[in-house]
């Protein structure tokens, strides 16, 4: 009895989570542009997707921005997490943590508007009329990614023995070597999680990007939003399906690799 209830519950949750995706995937193979009538299977919209230069440019922009901002924020965030972890006084540590968490709690619209104001203000100060663009988007994305990176690296640091790095230094390594050869491998899973999280956050951000984007660089979510005067065309469903499949694939590869690495470690331990 208990089992059936829990199974039904799981099924319901799965349906609610994935029904929208399934509908979108199915409609992306529709041969007509209607969102209600399935008139036959076709790959037409996938062809259209490759011809639509506006959305393709936007997709390229989005990916470039996501990769660069995720990489930079992971580096800065990891360094920050290491610094926070090494703080001796408790109250300083908790204060700094709270301060870094504020951008995460802050409503996105507030972050977006305030960043736009800052950029425009600084732009006027240095005499740049066209200040909003790729650099401002990059700064904004790194900023909102940082707290998430810190939050996913910090627990890993807590788990590792703080004396490990000291031991390495006792044995003759420089502090840098100790960090890169001893600490980093121990927290690498946290860093990878942070990187992926930052990448996806940057990929789908709309509100902040909307305020700080400029005339030369627009991301995919903004382009899709601007289609509401007419209507979103099915080649967007096709594009979303491709993105969804790519993310899914990425996650599967990640999981497989991680499982393999764990197995290897287990074997190595047993061999000892």
């Amino acid at each position: 009895m208990k089992k059936t209830v829990s199974n039904i519950y799981i099924a319901l949750i799965m349906i609610f989570l994935y029904a929208p995706m399934i509908v979108m995937v199915v409609l992306s193979f529709n041969s007509s542009s209607s969102t209600s009538v399935m008139s036959g299977f076709s790959l037409k919209w996938y062809g259209e997707m490759l011809k639509n230069s506006t959305t393709l440019t936007a997709l390229r922009n989005t990916l470039i921005l996501a990769v660069i901002s995720a990489a930079i924020s992971t580096v800065i965030g990891t360094a920050a997490a290491v610094g926070i972890d090494m703080m001796k006084r408790k109250w300083i540590k908790s204060t700094v943590l709270t301060v870094t968490n504020i951008p995460m709690m802050n409503p996105e619209i507030v972050t977006g508007v305030s960043m736009m104001l800052l950029f425009v203000f600084v732009g006027k100060f240095v005499g740049a009329r066209d200040v909003l663009g790729f650099p401002t988007l990059l700064i904004a994305h790194i900023t909102f990614n940082l707290p998430y990176v810190i939050l996913s690296v910090l627990p890993k640091l807590r788990q590792t023995d703080p004396h490990l790095a000291e031991a390495a230094q006792d044995l003759g390594s420089t502090p840098f070597q100790a960090f890169f050869k001893v600490v980093l491998p121990n927290i690498s899973s946290g860093i990878v999680t942070a990187l992926i999280m930052a990448f996806t956050l940057s990929l789908d951000d709309f509100i902040i990007s909307y305020f700080v984007s400029g005339a030369k660089f627009q991301t995919l979510p903004i382009v899709i939003f601007s289609m509401t005067k007419k209507r979103v065309t099915p080649d967007i469903y096709a594009l979303s399906t491709v993105i969804f499949a790519a993310v899914l694939l990425l996650l599967i590869i990640m999981n497989v690799l991680q499982a393999r690495a764990e197995k290897k470690e287990l074997k190595a331990k047993k061999a000892e």
Binding site: S36, T136, F225, S226, T228
Partner: protein
């Protein structure tokens, strides 16, 4: 772990660098429609190479230009190839969106395409600069109907790009009579099958036409009466919609809806039971026009772009893609124009129309508070 990371990262990078540029290049060359006014090509490339700055920023509505989809001409790419000027093409979703982006001050655009009332407001607030019509020889193709309009009586700031009218869409299997008046939206027979606009200006407009008022009235009592009329209609209304109207009408979920003529044609393609009429009391007309903001960095190239957009060949591609009214006379009479002589877009009987003007702040405040009252009623 580090290896995994680098593999994933390089894959993603590879994907975005090679994947997309490759696809674009290939499709650009074998697009079905070719821009074939060869004599003009040289003019554009000469004009383009004479420009000192090789870049312009264009800000347009989403899906508002022929973009290469479904065998159409990719207008922006064509312009770039001919002139060597790089176009940074971005899109917005409403006039207010455009206005706030411009007011934020951190961006400069060279060409923007606002609607009539927003152009009026921008001229009033000194945000636009005059366009040198001598630099736009193709201006001669623009129909006189689109010149000297209320927002720009001396044709100094704008060149018309497209236009449209609102009408009544109905499903012939659900509505027996042929409606001629907005009053059918108040008919109890169609309880729960009526849709209305989910934006105050358009929704109030319908009540105002029905009551015989101007949509630009500054009379408080007229606005209140219109609100009363909408509250009276509310129990019959299935829902207030914007682009959801496409689905609802195509599926036959609703019988009657007001929307734009150009969009009706798209719905009709998916559901031939639909029909369209311009109600006798009058209706709303809009014109979207190309303007050059004061903050533009490259006015010359902006004028070249506007001239290009008025070229009959280019305008034809855009008109076929958009399905809205085309201001270029040459296009309207062209046999290759899909909507040539289309009764919905170009009705033979004159239609009573009125533009939305920019309302003063007091009236705007009144409108939004009355709209709230209607939505809460």
């Amino acid at each position: 772990m580090k290896k995994t990371l680098s593999v994933i990262l390089s894959l993603v990078m590879l994907f975005c660098v090679t994947g997309f540029s490759g696809c674009r290049g290939k499709n650009g060359s074998d697009s079905e429609t070719e821009f074939n006014a060869s004599a003009l090509k040289e003019d554009y490339s000469q004009a383009g190479s004479a420009m000192s700055s090789k870049e312009i920023n264009v800000y347009n509505w989403g899906e508002y230009i022929s973009d290469g989809s479904e065998g159409t001409l990719d207008v922006v790419e064509e312009f770039e190839e001919l002139t060597g000027i790089k176009v940074n093409y971005t899109t917005f979703d409403s006039n207010e969106d455009l206005y706030s982006k411009m007011k934020s001050g951190g961006i400069s655009y060279d060409v923007i395409i606002p609607s009539d009332y927003m152009i009026e407001r921008m001229i009033k607030e000194d945000m636009l600069q005059t366009i040198d019509l001598d630099k736009i020889p193709n201006y001669k193709y623009v129909s006189d109907d689109y010149k000297g309009l209320f927002f720009d009586p001396d044709n100094k700031y704008s060149v018309a790009y497209t236009g449209g009218m609102v009408g009544l869409i109905y499903n012939t299997t659900m509505v027996d009579e042929t409606p001629t008046s907005w009053s059918i939206m108040w008919d109890k027979k169609y309880d729960g099958q009526i849709l209305n606009f989910n934006n105050p200006r358009d929704a109030f407009g319908i009540a105002q036409y029905l009551l015989g008022y101007s949509v630009n009235s500054t009379d408080k009592i007229q606005w209140e009466n219109a609100a009363e009329k909408l509250i009276e209609q509310k129990p019959l209304v299935q829902s207030y919609v914007m682009d959801e109207v496409f689905n609802k009408m195509e599926m036959g979920e609703a019988a009657i809806a007001p929307y734009y003529a150009g969009d009706y044609l798209a719905m009709y393609a998916n559901n031939p039971d639909l029909a369209f009429v311009y109600p006798q009391e009058g209706t709303n007309i809009f014109v979207d026009a190309m303007c050059i903001p004061k903050s533009a960095k490259n006015k010359e190239a902006a004028e070249l772009f506007i001239n290009f957009m008025c070229d009959p060949e280019i305008a034809l591609a855009n008109a076929n893609y958009l399905g809205y009214l085309c201001p270029i006379t040459e296009v309207v009479n062209d046999d290759r124009y899909d909507y040539k002589g289309n009764e919905v877009l170009y009705p033979s009987e004159p239609v009573e129309t009125e533009f939305f003007h920019n309302l003063d702040q007091d009236t705007l405040d009144l409108l939004s508070s009355l709209w709230e009252k209607v939505k809460l009623a």
